[in-house]
Symmetry: C2
Subunit: 305 residues, 2 copies
């Protein structure tokens, strides 16, 4: 027999945990499923300065822990399991996971996103051998070495600043001629003598021996190729929603995000979405948490209706 709940939440980041906090406080019999570690993407951030309530900033891992602690305090059940599919039938939803099947009348999908890949030769081969998607996790391996950061958004520029704690030189490579990151973050990076910028340029290949040694770059304006000697490459070129397994379950937009209305309702009654995974998300922890609360209130209304 499948384990049965009123509500299943998929994903243990700020959106899922806040939904769990609200659901548990409403005494809904709720299970939260997380595939890797509680806290979500925010745990990859060394310093979170824009989550309201923490004027001194807070470490992302610590913030994730606090929200996890708060959600479970009120009786939220959690389990480590990867969701493989959701089947909708006759009012109940069957959630298929790596640890067996669970069922519930309502589901909140808050599975977030993962860092997009560059998709260039050498990237897969050197992942864990110099190629990384997490500066907090891997930055310390590159003490007194040169590293590259790929991307121009908040994640790329913030992590470039963080990497100057370890690396002797941080080269930020971005395809456009200007950065997309929030101004205050750009200013901080521009004031840091260890950071250099190579704009209007893309990585064409990552090369090395047993470890990464250099990047092949191309300037998109001059079309000229060049090489850059680095020991590490940190890739922050956007986020990809974790919705591959949902294509036949709920309506997705062209980018793979889940279509929702203001109440976080998806195309399927009783299935809700919250956080980075939903359409038009601004990909910020505070907005994801807000989404989670809204989704929980909507799920509660659905279960009572």
């Amino acid at each position: 027999m499948n384990k049965s709940y009123q509500l299943i939440i998929v994903g243990g980041g700020p959106a899922g945990l806040t939904a769990g906090l609200y659901a548990a406080r409403s005494r809904l019999h709720t299970l939260l499923l997380e595939k890797a570690g509680f806290g979500g993407q925010i745990t990859n951030a060394e310093d979170v300065d824009n989550f309201p309530g923490f004027p001194q900033g807070i470490n992302g891992m610590e913030l994730g822990d606090l929200i996890h602690k708060q959600a479970t305090k009120y009786g939220l059940e959690t389990a480590l399991a990867e969701v493989k599919g959701i089947e909708v039938g006759d009012g109940r939803k069957l959630v298929r996971t790596s640890e067996g099947d669970f069922e519930a009348k309502a589901v909140i999908i808050a599975g977030g996103s993962e860092f997009a890949k560059l998709g260039v030769p050498g990237e897969a081969e050197y992942t864990g051998k110099g190629v990384s998607y997490c500066a907090t996790c891997d930055g310390a391996f590159f003490r007194d070495q040169a590293v590259a950061v790929i991307g121009g958004g908040n994640a790329a520029v913030t992590e470039a600043i963080f990497l100057t704690k370890f690396a002797s030189r941080v080269v930020l490579i971005h395809r456009r001629d200007h950065l997309r990151a929030t101004k205050v973050i750009q200013e901080k990076a521009q004031a840091n003598p260890k950071i250099e910028f190579i704009l209007s340029s893309v990585v064409e290949a990552i090369e090395g021996d047993t470890l990464v040694r250099r990047l092949r770059l191309r300037n998109l304006k001059t079309k000229q190729q060049s090489t850059l000697d680095v020991s590490g490459v940190f890739v922050f070129v956007g986020l990809k929603p974790n919705t591959d397994y949902l294509i036949s379950t709920v309506k997705l937009d062209d980018d793979g995000h889940i279509a929702v209305n203001q109440n976080m309702e998806t195309s399927v009654p009783g299935i809700f979405a919250a956080g980075d995974i939903r359409r038009d998300s601004i990909k910020q922890a505070i907005a994801a948490a807000g989404d989670g609360a809204i989704a929980a209130v909507s799920a509660e209304r659905y279960l009572e209706g």
Copy 2:
């Protein structure tokens, strides 16, 4: 000449302050206007247990202070002024306030809501003489006395629990035959020996001499009248959005909330709304903060466009 900004934010609660935090970090020249005190409605709450990041709970005033500190840390300008009207003309918005006029290209309205009145005889007369809309502010005046709390939602039940610290007896009066508050809050109230419940009943009048002495009640099922001797009455019967001055500026729904889409855009280009004041808000601080971040990102996009 009017003082001119890129962005004006109306309201200094979690929604407005989070919008201000994001706008300041994006280096938008921003002014936040607040009519009373920074922090908004949340500062009336003794304990906030459902704002993610604070597993032990946090005092509402303290949470408001933390968010205010964080927003101003990045250069947000603030002023105490009551907004009287917003005039839209030719790309610029003129914001008329008690302290003179200001103008900006974009405006975020995050003016929140205020506690609704009962609208019964004696309410206005005894406000400040036993009638209160803030238990945190006035609870301590009623040590060892009997008080009534009117309402059945989260605010009413939470504040009833808080008032048992002071009062000898707390009678919760609600028009419906069951409470609307989150289950965990209901359970806590039901377990408290100082709290009594009078359901399916309304207050018809508040009476006294120089101070409140009693309530006239009517049971909606039996139609019977009764009196209840109390020294204090705390009214928590819902929230009314602060939009009276906006009727001719932006589209409101029937309840007076501001109509917005998912990006917090109102019917007027360049005017955004966030928090309790917008349509379909769940009236929770975390959701208001999320709204604020979204509105700021949308305003930034508008200003760049």
